[in-house]
Structures are given as structure tokens and as C-alpha cells.
């Protein structure tokens, strides 16, 4: 079976700092593979382990530098990689991204059985691109997947995190799944993986290659746009004390003050 693995390179959001001019400083911020996509890669590799005839193709939409991330996935055992890159894709929201990725999947893997994504990307954190891809491909989706139980050529069974418990869901293939984090140890690069990854050819698909029009993609093809960006305001006025023998007493008084004050 053929698996389309959709992954994204993101800035390490824990490294982002504010400048004194209230703008975000992305300088020196490392680009990493979206942490949830690591679980998506694991899920795809797990399926390949039980069914060696599986072929995994990693797709990413992003700037040229995202190619290095694709090479790393090849070293882990992903079979092929495709970079979807065009200046005209810039500013795409989740609708336009879903459309572009679905078009790429149809173009590169018309006979795909499964699309595997991470549940969230840590930069945007919308969890919307996966379902958007599924909609554009008109296939069923299972989101918040914790674990793959079984995957055959016709169906997949997974455990899904619902708000109140764990659902076991079966979907007919082709389908799309979005992976949450798991406890599994991430895979290591294969012995000959790096060499293979360095040698591999990674084709780049442009807007024209995908047969998309400028108004169908990027900022022009996006229903939403950012009208304003600003720094979150933190309103708590901090009083800091160092531990002493009176600390517990102060703490008790403050707890009662805060609980009473909040009740007013």
C-alpha cells in the first residue's frame, strides 16, 4: 500500500523571543520537524514494518530549506520525498494548505491508501490542515489517533482520544489519520539511511506543476487573513518573596484573600 506522509518544518516555538520593539525575533531560532509529525512518521514506519510492501512518500509544503528535513525522514526509512515549494504558496491558511497538499497527493500518489499527518503543528496549532486535506480528497478522517491497532489493504483500526475516553475506530481505506503523541521510542536512522538520504532525489513541485491557479493558493486562495498581530498582555502583578519561616503563613493568608476576593 502507498502512504502519503504530510509533515511540516516549524520554528522551535520555545526559542522565539520578543524584541524590545514588540516584534517576534525569529533570528537564531532553529527550524525543527513539527514534534507531532515525528509520531506521524513513526506510525507510517510501524505500518511498513508489518507490511513490507508499503511505500511511504513524505510530502512537505514549505521553503527550499525544508528539504533537509525531508532527507532526515528518508534516513529513517521513508521511501520517497517530495517538496511542494513555490513563492505563490506563501501566506496560505489551513484551507489553502489542505487544498495544495491534497492536489500534490493526487498528483504524486494517485493510488494512495492512507494519508498520515501529525495532529497539530506547534507554530499554528490549529489542527485543521489534516481534516482539510481529507475533505479535499473526499476520504474519511480519524483525528486524535493514539495508536494504530491494525492496518490492512482495505481498512485501518486505531485508538482515538475522545474527550471522555478512548474510542476504537475502523475506517475504510483510503483514509486520513492525524497522530497525537505516543510513548513509543522514536526510530533511529537506518545504518545505510544517511547515505541513501544524501543520494536521494527530491523533486520540487510548484504551483504550475500542481495545476493550481494563483487565486487558488497562498494568501489569495485563503479565506482567512491576519489583520493584527500583537503581544499577549499579562495582567498578573507579581509579588515575589523568598522562603522564610513566615512564608507558609503569608501563603495561607494570600490563599484566603485570593479565594475570597475572587468570589466578590
Amino acid at each position: 500500500m502507498k502512504i502519503a506522509l504530510c509533515i511540516k518544518q516549524v520554528p522551535d516555538t520555545t526559542e522565539i523571543k520578543w524584541t524590545e520593539h514588540n516584534t517576534i525575533n525569529r533570528e537564531g531560532v532553529e527550524s525543527i520537524i513539527n514534534p507531532y509529525d515525528v509520531y506521524a512518521i513513526e506510525a507510517a514506519l510501524q505500518i511498513k514494518k508489518t507490511n513490507p510492501a508499503t511505500e511511504i512518500t513524505a510530502l512537505t509544503m514549505g521553503p527550499a530549506q525544508a528539504e533537509s528535513m525531508l532527507r532526515k525522514t528518508l534516513a529513517l526509512g521513508v521511501d520517497k520525498a517530495v517538496l511542494i515549494s513555490d513563492k505563490k504558496f506563501a501566506g496560505a491558511d489551513t484551507y489553502a494548505t489542505g487544498k495544495t497538499l491534497s492536489r500534490a497527493i493526487q498528483s504524486v500518489l494517485p493510488d494512495f491508501s492512507l494519508v498520515v499527518c501529525g495532529q497539530f503543528a506547534i507554530d499554528g496549532d490549529t489542527a485543521q490542515t489534516g481534516p482539510s486535506i481529507a475533505n479535499h480528497l473526499n476520504i474519511p478522517q480519524i483525528t486524535f489517533v493514539q495508536e494504530i491497532i491494525e492496518c490492512t489493504n482495505d481498512y485501518i483500526i486505531v485508538k482515538r482520544q475522545a474527550d471522555d475516553g478512548i474510542e476504537t475506530i475502523k475506517a475504510k481505506l483510503p483514509a486520513l489519520i492525524c497522530l497525537l503523541q505516543s510513548d513509543k521510542e522514536p526510530s533511529r536512522a537506518l545504518i545505510n539511511g544517511f547515505k541513501r538520504a544524501q543520494m536521494a532525489e527530491i523533486p520540487t513541485l510548484s504551483m504550475e506543476n500542481l495545476g493550481l491557479l494563483p487565486e487558488e493558493t497562498g494568501i489569495k486562495g485563503s479565506p482567512t487573513y491576519v489583520s493584527r498581530a500583537f503581544r499577549p498582555i499579562i495582567t498578573h502583578t507579581s509579588e515575589k518573596i523568598f522562603y522564610s519561616e513566615t512564608s507558609a503563613n503569608t501563603l495561607k493568608d494570600k490563599i484566603f484573600e485570593f479565594m475570597a476576593g475572587a468570589n466578590e
Partner: protein
């Protein structure tokens, strides 16, 4: 006919068969938005098994809902992405609401992007503020880049869609009694091809409402708590204050606490009256889930921990010293 604008709310029914609390939070916000739009109809979309509507009516009467589109079928006992999105899309195409709001539960986060994508419209996820701008558009504000940046997002197409996490908005302050019209629809699903099937369900929470959603006091621990004994100490404090315990992702990842009590970007968003952060350094991913708490107390040995920046009271010290001393005051 006068053109009345309409705000459509998704009324999620939990597995325990009640209206999810996030619906009442959406209803409160919809009332505010309707007023800013110069008056508009507020409606709800409900999927239910037949003969269940009576159980839900009261909730709609009290929350200012003008009309409920009730879809009834035996299949509506459990959520199904394809089925619910298909009918929601058909309804939106028919009634053409200006705005559609959905709770950002796991069900809502599964459903909403499927609907918006099929309608070729925009969806803003996990909004922390919704407003109407001077042009009458929905201005949806949300944290992005791990909470480092807030972005206000507008939508060029209709309906303007947004999801909102539970507990981000306050629920209705008082009952808004309105005459609610219930329009019952019984779709024939004969041509519906079921592509996913729920095989099994194992409950991990007593109900969908996590205690973290309703507790007035939350005592939360991070990796700095160190041990499960440390968490037992937090539990004692939480019990003494009639509260509940929470944890950071770091603490959950190393097995100190269950995933169900994780607070932060990939866990729950909470807004209790008092949040006591113990051994939590204050990574931004955690802060976005708790910084709207009314009052925050932080206890940490590292005086430079970022958690102190959002705290009302910070104590630089060891929880294993302070909490046992504090507990003495409660047992007296």
C-alpha cells in the same frame, strides 16, 4: 422578507447525553456578537436520537436560542465525522448563517475543519476572543507561535467560522429566557455511505466534564515536583482547598500524573479562581493553558522561573518545605 442575520452554534451532546458546557459559553458570546451586529437570530444545530429532544429543551430555552435545527436519527447516538459534517454543510448552505461557532472539544476540532473546508470558508481555531469590527466582520483572536503571539484573524467568506475551547469564555451569567423554535428534521440516510465505524469505547473520565473545568482552585505540579509522593502532597493541598490537581506536560511525560489532568497547549485550558503552580518553571506551552486564571500563586526553587512573571504571588522555595508547613494551618 426582512433579511435577518443568523449566528449558528453547534450544540454538542456528550456521550452521557447532556449539552456540553461549552455550548453555553458560546451562547453567551453569541448574544454579545448579536448585539454588536445590531440584532440577529441565534440558532443551534443539534443531532440527537429520536425522542430525546425533551431532555435538551430546557438548556436552549435558558440560553437565548431563537431556533434549534434538530436532526433526529438512530445513528445520532454517537458522533460520526462524515455524517455530521454532511448534514451541517447542507444546513449552512440552506440557512446561510453569518457566523458559525463550534466548541473546540476533540469532537468539535474534528468536525469544524471538515465543514469549513467543504464550504470553502475560513475557520479560526481556539479563539480566546471574538468581536465584531467596524466593518461588521467577525474578528477572531487566538494565540499562535506557542502563545508568544496573538493574532486577530478575519474571514473573507461566509460563514465566518471559529472554534473556542471550553472554559475560555464565561458561561451565561443568568438565564435568558426566549421563545425557542424547534424545527425537527428526520433525514433519510439511505444514500449515506458509512466509511468509519466506532468499534469500542473505554471511558477514562467519569464524564466529559473534567474536574479541571469546574474547580475553583487548581493545585498544579510540574517536573519540579519530582515524585508521585510530591503529587500526593499537592493532592492533599487541593483537597484542603476543595480543589483539584493539574499537571504540566513535562510531569505527564515522565509519568508523575495522568494525561487527563494535563494543562497547557496540548492539554486543557483552565481558568479557576486560584491556580497554585508548584515546581512549574512556566514554559509558554503551559502558560497558555492557565494564564487566564483569576489569581496565580507560584512556588519554585528557581527565582528566575518564567512562571513568576504571571504570578500574583511568587514564593522562591521548596514545595516540600512550604506545603507541609501550610497544611498545618489547615488541620488546626
Amino acid at each position: 422578507m426582512s433579511e435577518t442575520k443568523e449566528i449558528l452554534l453547534y450544540a454538542e451532546i456528550t456521550r452521557s447525553k447532556y449539552i456540553h458546557t461549552v455550548f453555553f459559553e458560546l451562547a453567551q458570546k453569541a448574544l454579545e456578537l448579536a448585539e454588536k451586529l445590531g440584532g440577529c437570530k441565534i440558532s443551534a444545530l443539534l443531532f440527537t436520537e429520536p425522542n430525546q429532544l425533551e431532555n435538551f429543551k430546557d438548556g436552549f430555552f435558558k440560553s437565548g436560542i431563537d431556533k434549534v435545527y434538530v436532526f433526529e436519527h438512530e445513528k445520532f447516538g454517537t458522533y460520526n465525522t462524515d455524517l455530521y459534517s454532511k448534514l451541517a454543510i447542507e444546513l449552512v448552505n440552506e440557512i446561510k448563517p453569518e457566523i458559525m461557532l463550534i466548541g473546540a472539544t476533540n469532537e468539535g476540532r474534528d468536525l469544524a475543519p471538515r465543514i469549513s473546508s467543504a464550504l470553502h470558508t475560513g475557520l479560526t481555531a481556539d479563539c480566546t476572543d471574538l468581536d465584531i469590527n467596524e466593518k461588521g466582520q467577525l474578528a477572531a483572536t487566538r494565540p499562535t507561535f506557542g502563545g508568544k503571539l496573538m493574532a486577530t484573524i478575519l474571514c473573507k467568506t461566509l460563514p465566518q467560522m471559529a472554534t473556542v475551547r471550553p472554559k475560555v469564555f464565561k458561561p451565561l451569567k443568568e438565564d435568558i429566557i426566549r421563545t425557542t423554535e424547534f424545527e425537527i428534521r428526520t433525514p433519510s440516510l439511505t444514500d449515506f455511505e458509512q466509511r468509519t465505524e466506532l468499534l469500542d469505547f473505554a471511558r477514562t473520565l467519569e464524564n466529559e466534564i473534567n474536574e479541571l473545568d469546574s474547580a475553583e482552585v487548581i493545585v498544579a505540579g510540574g517536573k519540579g515536583v519530582g515524585t508521585t509522593e510530591g503529587f500526593a502532597l499537592l493532592k492533599d493541598l487541593a483537597d484542603a482547598l476543595n480543589g483539584t490537581i493539574g499537571a504540566t506536560r513535562g510531569a505527564v511525560d515522565i509519568g508523575l500524573a495522568p494525561k487527563s489532568i494535563q494543562i497547557g497547549q496540548t492539554g486543557k485550558t483552565v481558568r479557576p479562581k486560584l491556580y497554585i503552580a508548584c515546581g512549574i518553571s512556566g514554559a509558554i506551552q503551559h502558560l497558555v493553558g492557565m494564564q487566564d486564571s483569576e489569581k496565580i500563586i507560584a512556588i519554585n526553587t528557581d527565582e528566575n522561573a518564567p512562571i513568576f512573571e504571571v504570578a500574583d504571588l511568587g514564593i522562591v522555595g521548596d514545595i516540600f518545605k512550604i506545603i507541609p508547613e501550610l497544611m498545618k494551618h489547615f488541620s488546626k
